[in-house]
């Protein structure tokens, strides 16, 4: 009897062999393993696809920055965007990833996994797909800075800084908040800090570094009149800037929904929140500009969409769609006021990077606490504020010092003659639009 019933089971189980030709017949256990494997494949897929989308944001940043600055600096902007990603990738491979996700005894810094040493040929490649997703994030933080420092920064000075932010400044803060996503464990995440996709970790870190850069550099020639009046320096190609914003919006779906690094149903709400916040940000920024200037201004509207995206980044996975609209709407208003504020206090940020990424990164992080679907509390808000403050202090101070050092060593700003002629010629010997008749503002 025993034998017979066993036989039956075996027949039932072994008969399935056709699917895996030549392999062992499947069992409940092998099936279960196979299911996990397929899920793993889906996780890899989604993480890689999201990383590709985030990589695409590099093109978006390049276009927004190019479009919002003058024709005579277009090549320079492009080179900065190409190189902060390229050198940054290598820096993050060699150093950054280890500092951010390596084993961290203190919670303050990672100490292993440099040069992708966590991967051995033939071993588990998860570290690789995780690395590429994190690498494009690191590059995002770096590239934010280039916008605020546009049109006057020495190329080699920029490269120096760019390596350091990707290799050190961003990863160390990252290890505090996100280290445990891999081998690390950060003090800030230990406190329950909520920053799902990086309003603070990526955007504020980039934004405050941008602020330091803009301050150390000073405003572009001609930005302020003799009497201190603000003189606009117009972006030279608004359609490119607009395309850049659409591309960033596309990429942000990967940025936020990809931060699951897993193919789960959570991506649905994250994507909806991302979209609604961006939409609300664009609309409210347009309305704000309409009220303030009498006409719906395109630069502000575009920045409003980005502000909404930055704002929802922290809380995209833990706030409701309705809250996402509110968060985006506030971001849209905030970005306009913030741009005007920085203009007024004579900090010249050609593309509004500080307002979009710094200020709205902070707002988004706070909002993730306030609108938490699971309820909020003083302590949640407190930890969010602590994270926001830590990011400001760390990024602004480190960057400020670094820019000062770079300035001493290789000089940070080009000469006035070079600035007047344009960085395309002075830094790269090139001309972005040789077939077009172009003017030079200022």
């Amino acid at each position: 009897m025993k034998l017979k019933s066993l036989l039956i089971i075996l027949i039932v189980l072994f008969n399935i062999g056709t699917v895996f030709a030549g392999d062992e017949p499947p069992t409940v256990m092998s099936n279960s393993e196979a299911i996990a494997e397929v899920q793993t494949h889906a996780d890899y897929l989604w993480t890689l696809i999201a990383a590709i989308l985030v990589f695409f944001m590099q093109a978006g940043f390049a276009l927004v920055e190019t479009g919002f600055t003058r024709a005579k600096n277009a090549i320079n902007i492009l080179m900065k965007n190409l190189m902060d990603f390229s050198i940054g990738s290598l820096a993050f491979w060699a150093v950054g990833f280890g500092l951010m996700f390596g084993v961290s005894k203190t919670g303050w810094i990672g100490t292993s996994g440099f040069f992708l040493s966590d991967f051995t040929p033939g071993g588990d490649p998860w570290v690789l797909v995780f690395w590429i997703f994190q690498c494009v994030f690191a590059a995002t933080a770096a590239t934010i800075v280039s916008g605020a420092m546009a049109e006057r920064t020495n190329f080699i000075g920029y490269l120096c800084y760019s390596v350091i932010i990707t290799a050190v400044v961003y990863p160390i803060f990252g290890s505090w908040a996100w280290g445990s996503l891999f081998n690390g464990s950060g003090w800030l995440e230990g406190l329950g800090f909520i920053d799902f996709a990086g309003s603070t970790v990526v955007h504020s870190i980039g934004g405050w570094a941008a602020l330091a850069g803009a301050i150390v550099l000073g405003p572009r020639l001609g930005k302020y009149g003799k009497n201190g009046s603000i003189r606009p320096i117009l972006g030279h190609n608004i359609p490119l800037a607009g395309l850049g914003v659409f591309i960033l919006w596309v990429g942000w779906f990967g940025f936020n929904a990809g931060s699951t690094t897993a193919a789960t149903t959570d991506i649905a709400m994250i994507a909806v929140n991302t979209n609604l916040a961006a939409a609300a940000g664009a609309v409210l920024a347009m309305i704000t500009s309409w009220i303030k200037f009498g006409k719906p201004e395109v630069g502000m509207s575009l920045n409003g969409a980005l502000a909404g995206l930055v704002g929802i980044t922290a809380g995209c996975a833990n706030v409701s769609p309705t809250s996402a609209i509110i968060i985006g709407a506030v971001a849209g208003v905030l970005v306009v006021l913030s741009v005007l504020f920085f203009e007024k206090i004579k900090i010249d940020d050609p593309v509004g990077a500080v307002s979009v990424h710094g200020v709205n990164g902070a707002w988004g992080t706070l909002a993730a606490g306030i609108f938490n679907m699971g309820g909020t509390s003083g302590s949640i808000i407190g930890v969010q504020l602590l994270g926001i403050g830590a990011a400001f202090v760390w990024s602004f101070c480190m960057s400020f010092i670094l820019f000062k050092v770079v300035d001493k060593v290789v000089t940070l700003r080009v000469s006035p003659e070079e600035e007047m002629e344009g960085l395309d010629f002075s830094e790269h010997g090139g001309n972005a639009y040789p077939d077009f008749e172009t003017y030079s503002q200022n």
Partner: protein, 112 residues
């Protein structure tokens, strides 16, 4: 020979050109210029800063004609470039001492 320099509103170019062709003046040289004058520019906004665009886009027509045709040409241009609104532009007449058609080497009246 006289050189006639005309500054007009851009959208009047076609009309002026057609009228000149009608009276047999077919050769002319045209360029885009920026005009400053009584007609005022407008205010634009860029990221919250308002600024005055003080120039007005204008078209400059240059044509060299026989002195004897000057009056007729001036009249035709005046008539066809006119809207009666501020900024219609100017006509200036300058003396020309010589002219050459490069293709043939013809000089003077023959050249134009």
């Amino acid at each position: 020979m006289k050189k006639i320099e005309v500054i007009i509103k851009p959208f009047k170019l076609d009309e002026v050109k057609a009228a000149l062709n009608e009276i047999g003046v077919a050769g002319m040289t045209v360029s885009e210029v920026k005009g400053f004058g009584r007609q005022k520019g407008h205010k634009e906004i860029y990221r919250g800063a308002e600024y005055e665009v003080d120039f007005i886009p204008k078209i400059k027509i240059e044509l060299v004609i026989e002195a004897s045709r000057a009056d007729q040409v001036l009249e035709v241009i005046s008539k066809n470039a006119k809207t009666g609104k501020i900024g219609d532009g100017k006509i200036f007449m300058l003396p020309v001492e010589d002219a050459i058609r490069i293709r043939t080497g013809e000089r003077g009246k023959e050249a134009i």
